[in-house]
């Protein structure tokens, strides 16, 4: 019964367009792991037939909105789920076209693995580079390059090697830590779940084996203790009269009972007297657990404060430099513009002091001339906030190193930023 007690959760992102076989690949993963249900299959079968398509269109599984079905495109992030006895998988499936950079960035923000698809006949194209650059900017810990449609190049090793080298040459310019290459045919099923009998020259894992076994437990930062206070728990009843708990999700490091901690921004220090949860007291807690901390001394602590270790503190500053992905269709990023900024459980107002350059996400070229930052553009900017934020570099911690900007008029989320 408890055979799922050690099942881990892995989130991965895919990006691509209609023709690169992405839907077929996802369809195959879902189908081969028995995650497509009979009535779902019958439904898309009927719709495919109604539209006069020859084969069952597996893309219909992921395209959920009316507009997407009508236009035959994916316009939003679609989340798909499947599981094997080893892991539960969440796929953030995003459109790969440049006008949907914002969706790719969204899907990438929480992913452990980026799955990049390359058509073996076409090699590394602009879209592959774009997706790889986003994986690098968003610091997705693992990248797996699936060289697809190997059946159309006679399963030849030379075709694989050429693309492998081409991608590696390009990837040296990126900040990706762990890249793997797998030759596959999503349509025929080669190296997806079962080993290919057509590519005996390939000795690496199948895609499913890779996804089930890639080492993700160190994807969180377990070194730098960061606890953003999310909510204060005060029961106000007789049984828990003096209870004052600080609840939140651990963003970094391992907190233990008895640890000395510093409260930011006040700078007071105290000790952890108890780590509490509904299921009882805990001796230690680590990311991504949601817990409640109790402290030895009574201080005035509220949402937005952060508990850290004395000898390991984040940057405390009103100035930050970020790589910003602009989302707003209605207006470009305003230099000297004012926005709301959200960072961990903090909220402040901010001023965009300077736009340093616009990044071309096909070539990595830094454009310092044309600084009009429109929707889906990525730019390096300098920001000043109305109050100090407690932050780390995004490279070191994806939680304490990320921000979003909100337009004060429309209340829309207009940008996402990675702190440099």
């Amino acid at each position: 019964m408890s055979n799922h007690s050690s099942t881990e959760l892995l989130r991965f992102t895919t990006a691509g367009s209609v023709d690169d076989g992405k839907s077929t690949l996802i369809g195959r993963l879902l189908y081969d792991s028995k995650s497509i249900f009979q009535d779902q299959y019958e439904q898309i079968e009927a719709v495919s037939e109604k539209r006069g398509e020859e084969e069952v269109n597996l893309a219909l599984l992921t395209d959920g909105l009316k507009a997407e079905r009508e236009q035959g495109i994916t316009i939003d992030v679609a989340y798909r789920y499947f599981s094997t006895p080893k892991r539960k998988f969440i796929i953030a499936d995003t459109p790969g076209h440049i006008q949907y950079t914002r969706n790719m960035v969204t899907g990438a923000s929480t992913a452990n693995v980026a799955l990049l698809l390359i058509d073996a006949r076409n090699g590394v194209i602009e879209q592959t580079k774009r997706h790889a650059i986003i994986a690098s900017l968003l610091q997705i810990p693992h990248v797996v390059v699936c060289i697809n449609k190997m059946d159309l190049v006679d399963f030849k090793q030379e075709a694989f090697d050429k693309i492998h080298d081409e991608f590696e040459a390009f990837a040296t310019k990126l900040d990706v830590k762990d890249v793997s290459f797998i030759p596959v045919s999503a349509l025929k099923g080669d190296n997806i779940v079962d080993r290919s009998i057509n590519m005996s020259w390939y000795e690496g894992p199948t895609l499913m084996y890779y996804l089930e076994n890639v080492h993700i437990s160190s994807d969180h930062n377990f070194i730098d203790c960061r606890f953003p206070v999310q909510h204060v728990i005060r029961p106000y009843n007789d049984k828990f009269h003096d209870y004052r708990g600080y609840s939140g999700r651990i963003a970094g490091g391992i907190f233990k009972k008895g640890d000395e901690v510093v409260i930011l921004p006040s700078g007071f220090s105290t000790r952890v007297s108890k780590i509490d949860s509904f299921d009882g007291e805990m001796q230690e807690a680590f990311p991504p657990q949601s817990i409640t901390l109790l402290l030895e001394d009574d201080f005035d602590i509220s949402r937005g404060d952060m508990l850290v270790r004395v000898n390991n503190q984040p940057t405390i500053s009103q100035d930050l430099e970020v790589m910003l992905c602009w989302f707003d269709h209605s207006k470009p990023l305003q230099s000297r513009g004012k926005y709301m900024i959200k960072h961990t459980s903090q909220e402040a107002r901010c001023l965009v002091k300077e736009i340093r350059y616009k990044l071309d996400i096909n070539s990595l070229h830094r454009d310092q001339e044309n600084l009009e930052i429109k929707s889906n553009d990525i730019a390096r900017v300098v920001i000043r906030t109305t109050k100090p934020l407690f932050y780390d570099k995004y490279r070191e911690n994806r939680i304490t190193g990320s921000v979003i900007l909100v337009d004060e008029g429309s209340n829309n989320t207009v940008a996402a930023g990675m702190i440099i």
Binding site: L65, Y81, N103, H231, R249, R398, I404
Partner: protein
């Protein structure tokens, strides 16, 4: 010590984070409670999120009047156990007041009529965030839902213009009159829900377990024999051992032949089934985009 948690604990942690975020970002949130396993799970997670304090949200039940009596009994017991505050909105009132018109015919259901009562109750109660037990794996329109899903002053959803959600930064800012729907268990699958309920030993309504019941068969789906479902010509009720996989209103909740008597049996059954849970929901079968159409108007 190995610093990792299993997928159920990670999902739990994510949901608790969302629930606390709702408490922090909104003035007057409410849990939409249907009596189904998803809203039971959400309520249970809310109890965990704020322990040892009470859940800072009310419960709202939109009552079509076509209930399984077991659902109401379970609801009242749960409310008592955790000291929750319950509000009930009655679809019957909207019908009596002439705001909505009851559907006619043998497949008539009050499912679609709930939207009016739901939006009215949200407005009356000045609720600015309504927590729903929707999951992305349930249905294709729901696969595109955000955790924090914005609704305009008419309660409408605009799926093509949703706020991007990155990392764990959730934007709940809104103009006066607008509200949010929040889906804390977005990332759970049906199997996750059952595995978790089993592991946590959460008590559930008896409807979920195999029991003998008079049923009728219509379009390949078994429905509970009830005064609310007029029989078509030739339809005859018969005794069958069944259970519910989802619980909604009697008129649109299919029952399944099953012998699953414990949560563990159910986990086994779900793990091997080839039909989705909403396969028995006649409300989704009305058109290819039935759910999206209802959601745009303000449905759950």
């Amino acid at each position: 010590m190995n610093y990792h948690i299993n997928h159920l604990k990670e999902l739990e942690s994510e949901s608790i984070f969302i629930l606390r975020e709702v408490a922090a970002q909104f003035e007057n949130p409410v849990i939409l409670f249907s009596g189904g396993k998803d809203s039971i799970l959400m309520t249970y997670l809310a109890v965990k999120a704020f322990y040892p304090a009470k859940v800072p949200f009310q419960l709202l039940h939109v009552d079509t009047g076509h209930n399984f009596p077991e659902t109401l009994a379970y609801r009242d017991k749960l409310v008592g156990k955790y000291g929750l505050k319950l509000k009930v909105g009655y679809v019957q009132d909207a019908i009596d007041g002439g705001h909505v018109t009851e559907e006619k015919g043998t497949n008539a259901s009050r499912n679609g009529l709930q939207t009016f009562t739901l939006l009215e109750e949200l407005e009356k109660g000045k609720f600015d965030a309504a927590l729903g037990g929707g999951r992305r794996d349930e249905e294709k329109a729901r696969a595109k839902e955000r955790f924090f899903s914005h609704r305009d002053e008419f309660g409408q959803w605009d799926p093509k213009n949703q706020r991007p959600e990155l990392w764990n930064l959730f934007n709940g800012r809104k103009h006066i009159g607008e509200h949010f729907r929040v889906f804390p268990i977005s990332n759970w699958t049906e199997l996750d829900v059952w595995q978790y309920l089993a592991e946590e030993k959460v008590p559930l309504p008896n409807l979920y377990f195999a029991h003998e019941r008079m049923v009728i068969e219509r379009d390949g789906i078994l429905l509970a024999d009830s005064e609310f479902i007029p029989k078509k010509e030739g339809e005859k009720a018969f005794l069958e051992t069944v259970r519910c996989r989802t619980i909604g209103d009697v008129t649109c909740t299919g029952v399944w032949r099953s012998t699953a008597e414990t949560i563990e049996d159910i986990v086994q059954e779900i793990a091997t089934t080839r039909m989705t849970e909403r396969g028995g929901r006649s409300d989704d079968k009305r058109s290819e985009t039935a759910m999206e159409d209802r959601k745009k108007q303000g449905y759950f």
